[in-house]
């Protein structure tokens, strides 16, 4: 067994030169998860400890106890996970019907999708659900590589309008129609 250093920072001693260090970092990118978990742990602990509980405390266990336990747990798990990663443990990326893990992750698509989603969310209030939903569908399909400019917008519009009609009129789940529905 190797002797692991508990320090997850990139400064930990690495025998290899700069290029080697970069690939070491890529190999150990899971340490980022440990960093995020410990940040979350500190956040939860800080929130719990700054809580003002004197007046509201009822019973032996106040609103602080569980957050303190969860926050401490996050820190412990972050440390243990770092240990596991440095010893060579790796989380297995999830597989699936349409997942091809042999190629590197396509970050452009993910960012584009997230952007389209946020944009549509912002547009719901001014444009109404049918229009914003159609933009979301078309934008997402575009981001995922569909380039049929004759078919895609049409499908998006139909999906969005039908969904709006089914939910708002048939199922009794209100969605905002927006100015477009006001005209129709």
């Amino acid at each position: 067994m190797t002797t692991p250093t508990t320090d997850p920072s990139p400064a930990s001693p690495s025998p290899a030169p700069a290029a080697g260090r970069r690939s070491w970092l890529r190999d150990h990118s899971e340490l980022g998860v440990c960093v995020l978990l410990s940040v979350l742990g500190v956040l939860v602990l800080a929130d719990a400890l700054t809580m003002d509980v004197d007046i509201t405390q009822r019973g032996p266990v106040g609103p602080r106890t569980v957050p303190v336990v969860v926050g401490a747990g996050l820190l412990v798990v972050a440390a243990l996970l770092a240990l596991d990663v440095l010893r060579g443990g790796r989380g297995q990326a999830e597989t699936g019907e349409d997942v091809d893990l042999s190629e590197p992750a396509d970050w452009r698509t993910v960012l584009l999708l997230a952007g389209v989603f946020l944009g549509a969310a912002v547009l719901i209030d001014p444009l109404g659900f049918p229009a914003a939903g159609a933009l979301l569908f078309w934008g997402a399909a575009f981001a995922l590589g569909s380039r049929r400019f004759d078919r895609d917008p049409l499908i998006a519009a139909v999906v969005s309008l039908v969904t709006y009609a089914v939910f708002d009129k048939l199922l009794g789940v209100p969605l905002p129609g927006g100015p477009l529905m006001g005209v129709l």
Partner: protein
């Protein structure tokens, strides 16, 4: 007899035209969504949650039951015709089912799966009728310490039985518990992790967490690794079975439920373990050993029957104890909470119409499933050819509909996307999603029970282990935690012997 009478009343509820309609819609929607590649039962149920918002609770849960069984059946169709299952429970169906389809026996494989689902679901639901009221009766007297013990068991089981890495399961659980903490403390009204935001004071809706982790996370994850050329489904005709096939499979159908049901009822990962156990059992008992791996029909029939029965077993713990043992049950529990209904021992007393209507509709749903799916199989198979950009755009779209319909707030969509990004990261680094969802749903309840128990005992920790029930549950917890050590010791002993 009492259960029988209640069940008959339940049929009275389930067989009204409107509820029959919801059951049929649920089965059809569930199968259609479940067949779509990349969508497992949990995501199907999460995505279809908003469809039921406008319904009364009984109608909603009748529809849910149909969606659940339909989605499970749909998943096995995908793995038989595509051979790249995303859902762990459907892996086994692909092992024999896909070779069968490749050899031109896809119709028989689908029929074996459909009838297996029917048989397993029927036996499982009968066991549910027989056992659930008894379990509820036993559980009526249990108090806060016992509930807390059960929830601790659920937390430990979900992190240490499932998945390959306990530490990653634990990380996922803690992420879920943290999300569950956000909002006002239920007992004192203290703000926790709200950072002064009014929206966060209400807490983060469980539905948004479930849809975010299951649907958005999955869609983003697939988008990052989308196959350039999706796998080609094998074309298939109308499912049917010859007499020789029936002769080979009926015993497998009959055995499956008894393997599946018990595993569904305990927090051990739902259908994953029993389908595999059933596969191994059938293989050992088979007279056609040479066919295994090349398309042995028993290897489809048994595991599918076990999977379906495990779904019924899941409902036992969910309805009587409020304990979700699978991701689907977790989402269904969230749906119950939406209606202000708390599943648990008192559910059978307080909401008899709802519970028995739900159980009766399971029988109805099973019959509908068999009647609809055999003729519709070629249609379902066509769904496998859906262009992937439309599929994943559709998932994002419906996830947005679901999250927005919860409260009509745009901020919910932003939270949904953030949780989806967390789900993306979890998939990338092998953190299982289920513990997080269980943590969000059970975390606040567990805290309440813990504090109630400690109030009763005046702060003494011994109050948590004051009943035989809780002591037993903690013993199981210790056993689960110690299991890897025990297992490490075992082969050594065998080697020494």
């Amino acid at each position: 007899m009492n259960a029988f009478n209640s069940l008959m009343d339940g049929f009275g509820t389930a067989l009204t035209p409107i509820n029959l309609l919801w059951a049929a819609v649920g089965v059809l929607l569930g199968t259609a969504i479940g067949v779509l590649p990349g969508i497992g039962p949990a995501m199907a149920v999460a995505l279809l949650l908003p469809v039921t918002y406008g319904l009364d609770p009984t109608g909603a849960f009748i529809m849910f039951a149909g969606i659940y069984y339909g989605a499970m059946f749909g998943g096995s169709t995908t793995s038989i015709l595509l051979n790249t299952p995303g859902e762990s429970a459907a892996v086994v169906a692909a092992m024999e089912g896909n070779p069968m389809a490749k050899a031109g026996r896809g119709a028989q494989a689908l029929a074996a799966a459909a009838i297996g689902h029917f048989a397993g679901g029927m036996v499982g639901t009968i066991l549910l009728v027989a056992l659930a009221p008894a379990v509820a009766d036993l559980a009526v007297d249990i108090g806060a310490p016992d509930y807390f013990a059960i929830m601790v068991l659920a937390f430990i089981a979900v992190t240490s039985v499932l998945g390959s890495s306990r530490i990653r399961g634990m990380a996922s659980l803690l992420i879920g518990l943290t999300i569950g903490l956000v909002g006002l403390d239920r007992m004192t009204g203290q703000q926790r992790l709200t950072f002064g935001s009014l929206q966060l004071a209400d807490g983060i809706d469980v539905v948004i967490v479930a849809v975010g982790l299951f649907a958005i996370g999955e869609a983003l994850w697939v988008a990052a690794h989308l196959r350039r050329r999706p796998p080609e489904p094998i074309p298939v005709g109308r499912p049917w079975l010859g007499r020789a096939d029936v002769k080979r499979t009926w015993k497998s159908w009959a055995r499956g439920p008894f393997i599946g049901f018990p595993f569904g009822a305990i927090p051990a990962g739902g259908a994953e373990i029993p389908t595999f156990l059933s596969y191994v059992t059938e293989k050992r008992l088979s007279k056609h050993e040479d066919e295994w791996g090349k398309g042995a029909i028993e290897g489809v029939a048994g595991p599918e029957s076990a999977a379906s029965a495990s779904a019924a077993g899941t409902l036992v713990s969910m309805l009587t104890l409020g304990l979700p043992t699978t991701a689907v049950a977790a989402v269904m529990l969230a749906a119950f909470q939406q209606y202000g209904i708390q599943p648990g021992p008192l559910l059978f007393e307080r909401e008899p119409d709802l519970v028995w209507g739900l159980i009766a509709s399971l029988f109805v749903g099973m019959v509908l499933l068999l009647a609809l799916n055999l003729p519709l199989a070629p249609v379902w198979a066509k769904l496998l050819r859906i262009p992937r950009p439309y599929l994943y755009a559709g998932i994002l779209f419906f996830a947005a509909v679901g999250a927005y319909a919860v409260g009509g707030e745009v901020i919910d969509l932003v939270i949904l996307l953030l949780i989806g990004l967390v789900g993306f990261g979890m998939r990338r680094y092998g953190l299982p999603v289920l513990p997080a969802v269980i943590g969000v749903i059970l975390g606040p309840a567990a805290e309440q029970q813990l504090r109630r128990a400690l109030q009763i005992s005046d702060g003494s920790v011994t109050g948590l282990v004051g009943t035989p029930f809780s002591v037993t549950v903690y013993a199981v917890v210790v056993l689960l935690l110690a299991w890897p050590l025990v297992r490490k010791a075992l082969p050594r002993r065998r080697a020494g012997a």
